[in-house]
Amino acid sequence: MSTLNQTDFSYFPGCSLATTAAESNLSLMKAARILGLNLIELDDWNCCGSASAQTLCKSLGLGLAARNLSLAPAGRPLVAMCPRCLQYLRNAQKCLREDPDTHRALEEQWGRAINLDLEVIHFMEVLVRYGLGRLKENAKRSLQGLTFVPYYGCSVFRSPDRERDKYFQGEMENILMALGAKPVVTALSYRCCGSFLSATSPEIVTPLVNEIIDSAVLAEAQCIITACAMCQLNLEIRCTAGTKIPVFHFSEILALALGAEDYEGWFIRHLVDPRPLVQKLARVA
């Protein structure tokens, strides 16, 4: 099957999108439905291990990520929206390729095959395959006039041995420019949001977050659009800067451009209300 016509994908939501960032999940589902993409949630998925499992026990982190790989049916790529989940899933796949004994042991433990050729990709890569031209044809609301900071946080950085992996750096700009928005590239797009230190050490994270928000305000952006749900949360909850601007999930802006009207439920979950900005966007006939 040509990748261009692929419409079925296994989908790994991850803990953030399933809970604190439910608005990202809802808007992603909406956008996918409009585009005719079928994101099929991985049945009985578990946490990818996140930073905590990787921090305290290597084989636990590997096992948690690998179980998700074992649940993915053959024949369709596994799509993640959270960049960190994506990295942990891909790392697990690489570890198992290099360690056939553990691979076999885990397969026996669960009685399921773990397909090491399974394609694990980010949703932005799905959009690139779908084609920006086709995406544009589906646009119902113009993003003309919207200036945004594409915020990737640390999500496009990875360890040197993974540098050559295909990734989605720059794709947020490509996609949203095709839909009419204008990226601001002079702000802090790649500065880490503080990750889990936001929970343990707000005194470290708040100045970092303020710097990021201030840089966006100074660059005269109207909003920040994030690739990562945890970044979105940290940028909102740890910001004490005087001027605050809305922080969107990438999927929310995408769904808006595709004509979504049921955004009330997403935006009441934001700490900085993005609705005044959204209402300025014009409908395309």
């Binding site: 809970t19 946490c47 930073a51 636990l60 470290i204």
Partner: protein, 197 residues
Amino acid sequence: MSPTNLLAKADTAETAVPAEISRSLASEVMERSGTNLYRCYHCGSCANGCPFIQAMDYPPHMVLRLLQYGMREEALGCKTIWICVGCHTCSSQCPMAINMAGIMEVLRHMAVAEGVAIAKPDIFDFHEEVLRSLERYGRAHKLGIMWRYKVQTRRWLSDMDLGIKMLAKRKLDLRPSRVRALEEISQLFKCYWRESS
């Protein structure tokens, strides 16, 4: 806190370590991380880029220096390894492509396995609470994690206003989302060493 003067510290008798031990620590870390830490020529790019440098006791490349000197206690007992969130900003700026975050990860594993006094116990406690949640539900239940973390660290009042705001915004689910095949999850936890359950 400002980075400790490493040379002054290495001069004291109690931290001076024979050369063989020095090589064994460095080679253990190199083997486990798959990274040659002798490639580091201490240009400091990692320290310049690290967003968390202010909270560290040693800049990242200094931790490599500790390893090169064989200063086990200092390397495994420093704050830096726990402050590092693995954002890989350092690795992406390193002219020698050293996987700095990978080394930090190995050092954390070694610190836990060897029962070294953890320099940032609050961060360790947080990771433990996340793992308890994963063991119980297979997924992270953030309200439960934060609640038990507050009990553990007795920091009741910090972030109370934020917690209420997040509950009001329905960002903290009261009930956890859980995995059905929980026995598959608990099997995975058998490998994990922990102080208390």
